[in-house]
């Protein structure tokens, strides 16, 4: 009896592992396919990328994507960084100030104001597209990287404010009160006490905001018509696509290069990423 149930348990463990690992493998198939297509000449994948009869891997498609005469991915890479870095730093700074204010200061209507800002989080980008398009035209910022940096900065504020406010509220109040008794002002307390304690939260917010700005397609679509200004997300939808045929080699290479930055960032900062994403989810 004992032996039988032990064997049953073993079988179950094996089955569980087999299923779990096959699912993981199945999940990777699309990525493997894209990779297999990107590192081989088109002639080798005409019978499917899963056909490995001939195999001459090279980086030619990556080089071709990077130095494409019409849409060089190198340029797009530079644009994406030029957009995503300021579009991360500005809202983090601005939202941390406000998040702290919402957590610590009492004033009339505070909670309503805060709730209204949080509500903005759920609005689709299309809801501001038309006026933003016109505003940027009026400001002469249309087709200028500055326009998209500004819009990302504003667009990222609601969730970072929420995130930093919830984080600040969880900090012990005693330290700040002690400093206040010693005569420190609001800004001094904020910069000398709160910011150093908030570094992990700031890192989480920065990782998520950077990825959001890097991955964004829609704002770039409506605000940046000139190809020289395109970030990677826009180039990847056009590169390798002819009128009738698609050069899947270049397109796959470009896809990999586009997701490489968020992927590396995720691998390096996994802890912060997950914590940022489920931080408030899990607290409920």
């Amino acid at each position: 009896m004992m032996k039988w149930s032990f064997r049953k348990l073993r079988l179950r463990t094996i089955a569980v592992h087999l299923i779990a690992w096959s699912i993981a493998l199945a999940w990777l198939v699309p990525f493997l396919g894209v990779f297999s297509t990107a590192v081989r000449p088109v002639s080798e994948i005409t019978n499917g990328w899963w056909n490995f009869d001939r195999l001459n891997p090279s980086l030619n498609n990556f080089i071709a994507a990077f130095t494409n005469p019409v849409l060089p991915l190198s340029r797009a890479y530079a644009n994406s960084f030029l957009i995503a870095i300021p579009a991360t730093l500005i809202p983090i700074f601005v939202a941390t100030l406000a998040g702290y204010g919402f957590a610590r200061f009492r004033f009339p209507m505070r909670d309503y104001l805060f709730l209204s800002i949080v509500l903005l989080m759920s609005i689709p980008q299309q809801m501001i597209a038309i006026p933003v398009f016109k505003i940027m035209l009026d400001l002469n910022l249309y087709d200028n990287l500055l326009s998209i940096i500004l819009i990302h900065s504003a667009w990222g504020l609601p969730w970072i404010i929420l995130f930093m406010r919830n984080f600040t509220r969880a900090l012990p109040l005693e330290v700040e009160e002690a400093a206040r008794v010693d005569g420190a002002g609001d800004f001094k307390i904020f910069s000398k006490i709160v910011i150093p304690m908030a570094v992990p939260a700031l890192a989480s917010a920065a990782v998520l905001q950077f990825m959001w700005a890097w991955n964004d397609y829609f704002f770039a679509l409506i605000l940046l018509p000139t190809q020289a200004n395109w970030p990677v997300t826009r180039v990847v939808t056009s590169i390798g696509s002819g009128a009738l045929t698609t050069d899947w080699g270049i397109l796959s290479a470009a896809s990999i290069l586009t997701m490489l930055v968020p992927l590396v960032l995720y691998v390096v900062t996994q802890r912060y990423y997950i914590r940022g994403m489920i931080g408030w989810t899990i607290k409920g």
Binding site: F105, Q125, Y217
Partner: protein, 323 residues
């Protein structure tokens, strides 16, 4: 701050807020904490100029007809009527199948099909991975979809579904299902379905990660006690695990619905705009009305309706987020 307290508080605004405010101002002036406004100023300036004003402007535009020459004419609900009776929004003629069924129905299908599958797949995997060695590696593999830019996700879905490169048509060819061994990208019976099912691959990581984290917060004693009592595993799940995960389920449901309502990049990248009508979504329709048809009024109406739907969904978890 719950919905109930919100209502009761609003009723007390005059007495609870205005009176103390007035008395405070009369006693101290605004001075003592005036510097604190600086904490909020930069955020409010950015939000008002680039988010709140545009949102209000979009609502406003929905009630107007833009005439050539930059003039506007108030048309009341005409744009709303035009949008809701447009076959591009709701295409009664093609119901029940095949697409195009209209953007509103496409988004609804996205929710009806994609939400339960990705939610339960994530939950099931989270439970399965509890007893798996190397679970974190499996989770990372599945979570890759969440890290992938949606635009690349769309490209990859096309890569899977298109004839020639696509592993999906080839697979069905090999197992002899002729009707599915075709180019999914050009068959309107399959395109929308392919994108919806394919995006399960992109999004399941979300519910998996959230549920996995949630499962670790359930005290082991609960299961121990139930096991001692001889509770069968199925009952344990429905009596202990699932009820305790309920708040998380609500969050996942809302976040997933928001994601599904806002679908844009995936469809654009997979269908390259043009073939997109068969898989058109509300978000894409806004773009189409404004940039293709130069009809700001109808575009604004679709955007407003979409926003209304997202706000309704969010209100379900607002209390939790702002707690």
């Amino acid at each position: 701050m719950g919905g109930y307290t919100l209502v009761t508080r609003i009723r007390h605004i005059p007495s609870k807020i205005l009176l103390p405010l007035l008395s405070r101002i009369s006693r101290h002036g605004l001075r003592p904490h005036a510097g604190r406004a600086l904490f909020f100023t930069p955020a409010l300036v950015l939000l008002v100029l680039l988010v709140i004003y545009p949102v209000l402007q979009t609502i406003f535009l929905g009630f107007y007809l833009e005439l050539p020459g930059g003039q506007r004419q108030f048309t009341g609900l005409d744009n709303y009527r035009a949008v809701l009776t447009d076959p591009a929004t709701i295409n009664v003629g093609n119901l029940p199948w095949p697409p195009p069924l209209g953007t509103l129905i496409h988004n609804a299908l996205w929710i009806v099909i994609h939400l339960p599958i990705s939610l339960f797949a994530g939950l099931w995997l989270a439970l399965l991975l509890q007893e798996t060695k190397g679970a974190s590696v499996v989770k990372s593999c599945i979570f890759l979809g969440m890290v992938t830019p949606m635009i690349v996700g769309g490209v990859i879905l096309r890569f899977l579904l298109e004839a020639g490169v696509g592993v999906v048509p080839s697979f069905f060819g090999v197992i002899g299902v002729r009707s599915l061994a075709v180019n999914w990208m050009v068959h309107r019976e399959l395109l929308l379905l392919g994108l919806i099912l394919g995006s399960v691959w992109l999004w399941t990581g979300f519910s998996l990660i959230v549920y996995s984290a949630g499962l670790t917060t359930i005290p082991k004693d609960y299961f121990e006690a139930a096991r001692v009592d001889g509770t069968p595993p199925g009952r344990m799940f429905f009596r202990i695990t699932f009820p305790l995960l309920k708040p998380l389920t609500l969050v996942i449901v809302v976040m997933t619905i928001l994601w599904e309502l806002k679908i844009f990049d995936i469809v654009v990248a997979a269908t390259n705009f043009g073939g997109g009508v068969g898989a058109d979504t509300l978000a894409l329709q806004v773009y189409r009305f404004f940039f293709y048809d130069s009809n700001a009024g109808k575009a604004a109406v679709v955007a407003s309706l979409l926003t209304l739907l997202t706000l309704i969904s969010t209100s379900l978890i607002l209390r939790r987020m702002a707690k």
